[in-house]
């Protein structure tokens, strides 16, 4: 029994090491190994690469929601201007960084998530007739460029409108 436990422990550590150093990338992201490895990952995250805070962290995303009421009033909510998804604390708000990052991956996923967020906002604003959902990527320049007056680059990459009536 002791030998079995030691073997399992070494297999576990070896798996972590191989995945971390990209030894089985082609199996993790394709082929018939993909599902068993994904299942194992869901149990204990041994199939996980920890390259977070590597190059991509410099990008930020703005989410703007415009709500038009039946009376013609337009309410604007922007994550750049204090919109915090009605969260009660900073920890809950932190999770929306992950939301903006994950959803920006492909347009179908973005459509589904936009619909979901729109449904929630329209339930909060019972008098709303139309909702615009806009996402913009923000890329800050380098320190040298910033010193020379280069402004952050803001690019709109997604926009959709939901009309109730």
């Amino acid at each position: 029994m002791k030998k079995v436990i030691y073997i399992l422990a070494f297999i576990h550590l070896a798996t972590i090491a191989i995945v971390i150093f990209h030894g089985i990338d082609k199996y993790v992201h394709g082929g018939w190994w993909e599902k068993p490895l994904a299942f194992l990952c869901s149990i204990n995250y041994s199939i996980w690469q920890y390259g977070f805070f590597s190059p991509d962290v410099g990008k930020s995303t703005e989410l703007e929601i415009k709500i038009q009421t039946d009376g013609g009033e337009v309410k604007k909510y922007s994550t750049l201007k204090g919109f915090e998804f009605y969260t009660s604390n900073a920890e809950s708000l932190n999770r929306f960084y992950g939301y903006k990052h994950h959803t920006a991956r492909d347009s179908t996923f973005l459509d589904l998530c936009a619909r979901s967020v729109a449904a929630r906002m329209l339930n909060i604003h019972q008098d709303a007739g139309q909702l615009d959902y806009i996402m913009r990527s923000i890329r800050y320049p380098t320190m040298k460029e910033y010193q020379h007056g280069t402004a952050p680059r803001i690019v709109e990459f997604y926009s959709t409108t939901f009309v109730l009536r």
Binding site: K2, I5, Y6, A9, H12, L13, A17, I20, F21, K35, A38, F39, S42, I43, N44, Y45, W48, Q49, Y50, G51, F52, S54, P55, V57, G58, K59, S60, T61, T79, L80, F85, Y86, T87, S88, N89, A90, E91, S92, N94, R95, F96, Y97, G98, Y99, K100, H102, T103, L112, C113, S116, V117, A119, N123, I138, Y140, T142, M143, K144, Y146, Q147
Partner: protein, 341 residues
């Protein structure tokens, strides 16, 4: 003749050094083997595992209570990402909170009540794990609840959840009730050191070494980590900005030094943490790094869990190093006095 002499030195000298090094290694292979086996098998105190359990269970409860005011916004049927969508994102083996609702629905509970009841089950499980009573059962239940959480909110998961999931898995399989637990107090579990304790501590230590090495080494491939721009952008971008750090652009040497420090402390973790005394400074560096992440990027829970993991894995050894450091000056003074006499 001189050329022959030079040729002889060119060939023979390296061979001499190779022979010298091999002479050192070969008789020591058996010692190395014994040390390797001893490293993984010699029973050590279960206290680090007890601390690991207390730390992670407390963290789980802290995170749960911070989350509670927004619980329905993340997990309710009308959450920011509704159940129909979050369920569609899941794999076949995931356990979405909707399945939990279907289980409770048979008891007559509504969706909202089921989600709230799930929260309290999670809290009770983490409390059972904290006090260490029938520990493995509560560890499994806590891990299972966290599995449901991860399945329900995949779009909102980030680093803190991944590390908590890893830790909860380890709490489920490791003998974490052998110290600071009701199980020991009630005599259900022995607090004696065993090979299982040693193996568990070593697995946790090696896993952390791999995590930090990979994190540091991935950063090293990015020129923007070397010139400080990644750190500067992280500090000024709206998602993480806590204070106005745009002025740092005038003093680029500060982000550069901090970036190099980060890469050094992470990549060197797998070496620094194994050298007695040096690991005191290394653990200090890791704590400083993660406190900085909490203070300047607002990722407090992430910073805390990373500190707790390192303290659980290496804290006991660091504590022993500090004890030895405190005892040594007296010993040196005695020797100095004797030498003087």
């Amino acid at each position: 003749m001189e050329r022959l002499h030079e040729l002889w030195n060119f060939i023979a000298l390296p061979l001499f050094y190779v022979n010298y090094v091999l002479g050192m290694i070969i008789p020591n292979i058996s010692t190395l083997k014994n040390r390797f086996i001893s490293f993984w098998e010699t029973p050590i105190s279960p206290q680090p595992l007890g601390i690991f359990r207390l730390a992670i269970a407390s963290f789980t409860l802290l995170q749960a209570f911070i989350w509670y005011p927004d619980w329905m916004s993340f997990f309710g049927p009308d959450a920011w990402i509704q159940w129909e969508i979050s369920r569609a994102l899941n794999a076949e083996w995931s356990i979405h909170i909707e399945y939990v609702y279907r289980l409770f629905h048979s008891l007559g509970l509504s969706e909202a009540h089921s989600v709230r009841l799930f929260f309290w089950i999670y809290v009770i499980a983490a409390t059972g794990l904290l006090v260490g009573w029938h520990t493995r059962i509560w560890a499994f239940l806590t891990w299972l609840c966290h599995y449901v959480i991860m399945s329900t909110i995949p779009t909102f998961v980030y680093g803190v959840d991944i590390f908590l999931h890893i830790a909860l898995f380890y709490l489920m399989v490791m003998p974490v009730s052998k110290a600071y637990s009701l199980d020991v107090w009630l005599g259900r579990v022995s607090s004696m050191p065993t090979w299982g304790v040693t193996l568990s501590v070593r697995v946790l230590q090696v896993h952390l070494c791999l995590i930090y090495v990979s994190s540091g080494y991935e950063k090293m491939f990015s020129p923007e980590w070397w010139d400080g721009n990644v750190l500067w952008r992280a500090l000024v971008q709206p998602d993480f900005r806590q204070f106005d750090f745009t002025w740092l652009a005038k003093y680029p040497w500060i982000p550069i030094l901090l970036s190099w420090f980060t890469m050094l402390i992470e990549t060197g973790y797998c070496i620094g943490m194994w050298i007695p005394r040096l690991r005191v400074a290394w653990l200090g560096g890791i704590i400083f790094l993660h406190l900085g992440i909490g203070l300047f990027l607002g990722l407090w829970l992430f910073g805390i869990i990373m500190i707790l993991l390192s303290v659980s894995a290496f804290g006991w050894e660091v504590y022993n190093d500090i004890q030895r450091l405190n005892k040594e000056p007296l010993h040196v003074t005695k020797r100095s006095v004797q030498a003087a006499e």
